[in-house]
């Protein structure tokens, strides 16, 4: 929150109408959700025309605004003075959440949770941006509560399917460890963890309902690729599946960055870096990987790795991944937060198909269809080539991931490279 409130728009700016820009690329469009109007003959005429249009056609109000503006009020010779509000100061939901991080507004005046449907999705996105102001203290009360988080920044994790697989693994781990899962950031359009990729929110990645999505038009009415993996849905599903854990199953990725969490007994202060990657049979897999994006500071924490530990456990006979977790990490149970720098491919999930199957079924997880990189933001369009924002996934990079996926879900790999072009919903179940 800004501590220095001041006026950013005024009825004395000389405009009849100042309105939010709903555009995401070069094109601009009117957003009816935030607008400042002077009561003048022109605005009254404009609204009369818009209302008439909504009544005489099937257009809803926002389309009618744009229609009326383009056909009756946009041309010269009319004294209606209006302008779009600055997209960086008054960002719409796409600009706020789906632009590459470097191009997002750094100091918005207002934020608008549009370009996403559903009440719970909006709330979750507000939480992710730390604009949700009314959570009760219990939401942040971590006394006696245990957390786990993981990195989604692994170079081998690119596609939505891979991110989903990782998420399922993490959920399973959280379930086994009886810990609240703090979600990492997910990547919608970037296929590799580069600085400029499009980070997205949970909802942008997944849809759970049967929403009829077609991403064919510039307007979001036709572009509802953002469906919800919403907390309420998850909680409903998990309540039955995990009766002892459902109520605290996960938190948004911004949870640890929330100012509320700077308290003395924050779990960040008691974080343990748990590197399960060394549980593997494959000695080549031990590499340096980025730590999770969180307020967590690796320098201040202790860490454990398990070099060769798995092999020694296996001396007593076959074990599954959950037993590895249980036996190796359980001694560190007292740490409030586990941070896993790498999960993919090494913790390939428990050999507990029943749980995984039920989890998938309960969550009705699907990747959102036909996600494409959006047009470049207006201000940068001329300086950067479009290729910078487009996902680049050379097939030659795939083998490492393929090997990993083959253990858990072969069919996901096959569809991964088609993700960009297919217009069908890819079901993971």
């Amino acid at each position: 929150m800004s501590k220095n409130p001041f006026n950013h728009i005024s009825i004395d700016d000389g405009y009849d109408l100042q309105i939010q820009d709903d555009g995401i690329g070069l094109a601009q469009s009117l957003n009816t959700g935030f607008q400042l109007m002077r009561s003048t003959e022109q605005t009254i005429a404009f609204y009369a025309k818009v209302y008439e249009t909504t009544q005489s056609t099937t257009m809803q109000d926002q389309k009618a605004y744009n229609y009326v503006m383009a056909n009756f009020f946009g041309g010269s010779g009319f004294s209606f003075k209006w302008r779009f509000l600055d997209r960086m100061k008054f960002p719409n939901g796409w600009v706020l959440s789906n632009y590459p991080p470097a191009r997002r507004p750094s100091s918005p005046v207002i934020v608008h949770m549009n370009w996403i449907t559903g009440h719970d999705s909006k709330v979750h996105r507000l939480r992710e941006n730390i604009y949700w102001l009314i959570d009760p203290p219990t939401y942040y009360n971590f006394a006696g509560r245990l957390f786990v988080t993981y990195s989604n920044n692994d170079p081998s994790v690119r596609s939505l399917e891979q991110q989903t697989e990782l998420l399922i693994n993490a959920m399973e781990l959280a379930w086994v460890a009886k810990r609240t899962l703090i979600l990492p950031r997910f990547r919608t359009f970037g296929w590799a963890p580069l600085p400029d990729v499009h980070h997205c929110t949970f909802e942008t990645l997944y849809e759970v309902d049967e929403g009829t999505c077609s991403a064919s038009g510039p307007h979001r009415d036709h572009h509802r690729a953002t469906h919800s993996f919403v907390p309420a849905v998850v909680n409903d599903a998990l309540r039955e599946l995990l009766p002892d854990l459902w109520h605290d199953f996960f938190r948004e990725h911004a949870f640890l960055r929330n100012p509320v969490m700077t308290q003395a007994d924050s779990p960040i202060k008691d974080a343990l870096l748990v590197d399960l990657s060394r549980c593997t049979h494959n000695p080549n897999a031990v590499t340096e990987y980025p730590t999770p994006e969180s307020a967590f500071d690796a320098d201040d924490s202790t860490g454990v790795t398990f070099s060769g530990a798995r092999a020694s456990l296996e001396n007593d006979g076959p074990i599954d991944e959950l037993q590895v977790i249980d036996k190796l990490v359980r001694p560190y149970e007292e740490h409030a937060l586990w941070v896993l720098p790498r999960l993919h491919g090494h913790f390939v999930g428990a050999r507990n198909p029943s749980f995984r199957e039920r989890l998938r079924k309960a969550l009705r997880l699907r990747t959102a269809p036909n996600l494409r990189a959006p047009p470049l933001p207006l201000s940068d369009a001329h300086s950067k080539p479009p290729a910078a924002a487009a996902p680049a996934t050379p097939a030659t990079k795939a083998p490492a991931a393929t090997e990993v996926k083959a253990q858990s879900q072969p069919q996901a790999t096959a569809s991964a490279n088609k993700q960009e072009t297919t217009s069908t919903v890819i079901e993971l179940m």
Partner: protein, 111 residues
């Protein structure tokens, strides 16, 4: 309704007082009234509490009410700053009247 509460929290954080929330159903209006929120409700220009879904007929009626209300308010000579309630005021915007269309009140029941 909690989106509206969040919107109110952000508005009140900036000590903005000159606003009115337009409730689009009776239940929302009662809740706002009980919370001493300046609110307006007219049963004739409201929506039924049936399930609302984006782009379906009743949602269209609902958002068209927004235009209707704006027209009425402007016609009476008021300058208006209109804000949906899935907006958060990060900074203070203007010294104009702030109006929230309580559309999300419907969403609360439908999602």
């Amino acid at each position: 309704m909690d989106l509206c509460a969040n919107w109110l929290a952000s508005v009140r954080f900036h000590k903005i007082e000159n606003f009115v929330v337009i409730a689009l159903d009776q239940q929302a209006f009662e809740l706002l009234k009980n919370d001493s929120v300046p609110a307006f409700f007219h049963p004739r220009f409201s929506t039924d509490a049936e399930k609302q879904s984006y782009l379906e007929g009743s949602y269209k009626q609902l958002v068209n009410l927004k235009t209707f209300y704006m027209y009425q308010i402007l016609s009476r000579g008021f300058h208006v700053l209109l804000s949906d309630n899935d907006i958060v005021f990060v900074k203070v915007c203007a010294g104009a009247t702030v109006t929230s269309v309580a559309a999300a009140l419907q969403f609360c029941r439908s999602y």
